[in-house]
């Protein structure tokens, strides 16, 4: 299926080059200067002092864990619900108007989505007022704390609301491509829904799911707006902490903030590389199996 001759490789680069050079041109110097600013160049302190300091800060580690919690749970919930919806609706989605309906939340910018969640779920929000009108609660404080709560429930709600359509968008082609006959065969042989999913769909769904997981996870890890609106004072998510350090105390903490962001970028890049390499191998593995059949 694939040719790996030098000529082919050359032409592949021809296709990739324009996008690649735009990205490197604009982000390249930005990344370089971020890294340079995180070092203590020409100062008496050791070159990597801000990294050292960062790793010894306990607020930093608290932020790491809350960020991972939020990114992981919102990504997994979006993926599970998204895949479930795609499976249920794959036939319905063959009609464009249905597909459009499922995408609606994608049309919302993130900060608008966060604002909607606030209006709905705040202690003074619509659901709380509704509960009071019905007579379920008498005072605002009886309403469960769902925004600005230490578990970041509101933030997770927002991301799930926003990212499910993205999951559907990425999974739908997979299900449409997947030969539905496989499924029928397996069902006739008496497989349950779960076995069908495990044996037939996973090989197809796995690489795309991982890719979607990666995109969403790093996005949530690095995004500022939603946690800034719906988060708590302590612990903060990493981007909010970085923002604060970046601006406070006459910019004295900037190297620390830059060190945090460089570290975050390095880890994300590494994770991206590993996941993409894994999906790449998985795909060629299954492509060969398919050709064997």
């Amino acid at each position: 299926m694939f040719n790996n001759t030098p000529l082919k490789r050359f032409s592949a680069f021809g296709y990739l080059l324009p996008a690649l050079s735009v990205i490197l041109f604009f982000a390249g110097y930005g990344l370089y200067s971020a890294f340079r600013n995180s070092l203590h160049l020409g100062e008496e302190r050791p070159l990597f002092a801000s990294y050292q300091e960062l790793l010894l800060e306990s607020p930093f580690w608290e932020s790491v864990s809350i960020s991972i919690w939020v990114a992981f749970s919102s990504t997994v919930i979006s993926l599970v619900i998204g895949i479930f919806l795609t499976r249920r609706l794959v036939r319905l989605f063959q009609r464009d108007d249905w597909k459009f309906a499922a995408w609606f939340p994608m049309l919302l910018p993130h900060f608008v989505a966060a604002y909607i969640i606030y209006l709905l779920f705040a202690p003074s929000g619509w659901f709380s007022s509704l509960a009071a009108q019905i007579g379920w609660i008498d005072t605002m404080s009886q309403f469960p704390v769902l925004v600005n709560d230490p578990l970041y429930t509101g933030v997770i709600f927002t991301y799930v609301f926003k990212e499910i359509p993205f999951v559907i968008l990425m999974m739908l082609p997979v299900y449409q491509e997947m030969d539905l006959r496989y499924e029928d065969v397996s069902k006739t042989l008496g497989g349950s829904d779960w076995t069908v999913f495990k044996t037939v769909e996973v090989p197809w769904v796995m690489p795309v799911s991982l890719e979607v997981f990666l995109i969403l996870f790093v996005f949530v890890l690095g995004a500022f707006e939603v946690p800034a609106l719906l988060g708590v004072t302590y612990p903060k998510m990493l981007p909010v902490l970085a923002y604060e350090w970046f601006y406070q105390a006459a910019w004295a903490n900037r190297p620390l903030a830059q060190a945090m962001m460089v570290l975050l970028s390095a880890v994300s890049l590494l994770a991206a590389f590993l996941i993409l390499r894994f999906t790449y191998k998985w795909r060629s593995h299954w492509a060969m199996r398919r050709e064997d059949v």
Binding site: P59, P123, M140, N148, D149, P150, T233, Y247, A249, A250
Partner: protein, 405 residues
């Protein structure tokens, strides 16, 4: 790499008619010109002003009063660019690093720690206030805010634009006996759990609330006049224990705090809490008028420790291309005429920076008229000076550890 830049620069010259030809004047060269010459060279200029744009009444004041006046009298076109101080300082920093002398904005709205950051990083134009006729005519140099901005020497780098007092707003329908001292406020919060909180100290207002606490811990305001680490070491215990004492009875048991003043205002507007606070003792008026705050909103000052007064300023960036026109604009904005109009609650409604000894009787009468009888005004004896911005840093540094964690 160099080659690439060169190509880029050539390309950009074609795109955007290579950098402007008129030489930019330094502060020293400007000083040699007299005011009439400055007026003359400002004619026809287009200038931009960086300012926070989230208050409709402030925007209206600029658009309806300042812009038309400059246009009609000096042929200067002023445009406002909505941008927060930290954002435009960042921008100026990059421009400085890249050696860009062709700045976007010519006037900056700035104060306190942002002024300190800008001055320390050489992002400002330089000494210019001595060039402004209205500085001498209406403001003089008696007041301390002319010389020092939160502990930073001003040295003519910025001109005062407005004075505001810190005040608390409460909902009279929910608060029967409003507190008049800090201790009463603490007591009130303990008696009414969940109904009071203050913004995170990274927010200017939240930080200033803690500054009031510092004042209430101090035996006399003089103790805090200059930044004194030893005093802090000796007294911080008392400060934190005071804050921790009523933390459990704050909104959300003090586990989290509103991220900034706007969030507190929002919570107050929604009825989640009974108090909000902030600089500008008149700020509730337009909020009530716009249906944001309930009609039963009242404003109070704490008699003990008092009310911190804060001044905000106008300055110029290092790379303004129209310094003359910027001077003209700033000179008008600090004039008695513009300052008195600014008092009008239906326009902006905030305190002036004028020295009443320098004003005519007519002007003084106008000020009285705007302030009216029922307007909120702090008595002179409860006004506290703003703290050195190093206190501000210290609060940020210690608060989270001592109070939240």
């Amino acid at each position: 790499m160099k080659k690439v830049w060169f190509l880029g620069v050539t390309a950009s010259c074609i795109l955007a008619a290579c950098s402007s030809e008129d030489e930019q004047l330094s502060a020293d060269e400007l000083a040699e010109k007299d005011w009439d010459a400055i007026k003359e060279s400002a004619e026809g200029a287009e200038i931009g002003m960086y300012m926070w744009g989230g208050d409709d009444s402030v925007n209206r004041y600029i658009d309806d009063i300042v812009v038309p006046h400059l246009d009609e009298n000096y042929d200067v076109t002023l445009e406002r660019y909505p941008m927060d101080a930290p954002d435009f300082l960042n921008r100026l920093m990059s421009e400085k690093e890249a050696g860009d002398q062709d700045g976007t904005a010519d006037v900056l709205w700035i104060n306190g720690e942002n002024f300190r950051t800008a001055k320390q990083n050489d992002l400002l134009y330089g000494e210019f206030t001595h060039l402004l006729p209205n500085m001498e005519e209406y403001i003089g140099d008696e007041a301390s805010f002319v010389h020092i901005d939160m502990g930073t020497e001003i040295e003519g780098y910025e001109a005062p634009w407005g004075n505001v007092q810190f005040a608390f707003q409460y909902d009279a329908d929910r608060v029967d006996d409003p507190p008049s001292t800090m201790d009463e406020l603490i007591e009130w919060s303990i008696d009414n759990p969940g109904e009071f909180t203050y913004p995170n100290v990274n927010d200017f207002t939240g930080n200033s609330f803690i500054s009031h606490m510092l004042y209430s811990v101090a035996d006399s305001p003089d103790e805090l006049e200059e930044y004194d680490e030893e005093w802090l070491r000796a007294n911080e215990e008392e400060l934190w224990s005071k804050l921790n004492d009523f933390q459990d009875s704050l909104w959300r048991e003090g586990q989290t705090y509103p991220d900034d003043l706007s969030q507190l205002d929002q919570m107050y507007a929604d009825g989640e809490v009974s108090f909000t606070m902030g600089f500008n003792e008149h700020r509730a008026e337009s909020m009530i008028e716009d249906d944001v705050f309930p009609e039963s909103t009242e404003t109070i000052f704490l008699e003990e420790p008092g009310s911190i007064g804060s001044t905000h300023y106008l300055s110029m960036p290092f790379n303004t291309t129209e310094p003359e026109a910027a001077l003209i604009a700033i000179n008008y904005m600090i004039s008695a005429e513009a300052q008195i109009k600014k008092l009008d609650p239906s326009l902006w409604g905030e305190g002036h920076v004028l020295d009443s000894d320098l004003l005519s009787e007519e002007q003084q009468a106008e000020i009285e008229e705007h302030l009216g009888d029922d307007a909120v005004e702090a008595d002179a004896d409860i006004i506290l000076p703003e703290l050195d911005s190093r206190y501000h840093d210290w609060i940020i540094d210690r608060w989270e550890e001592e109070v939240v964690q």
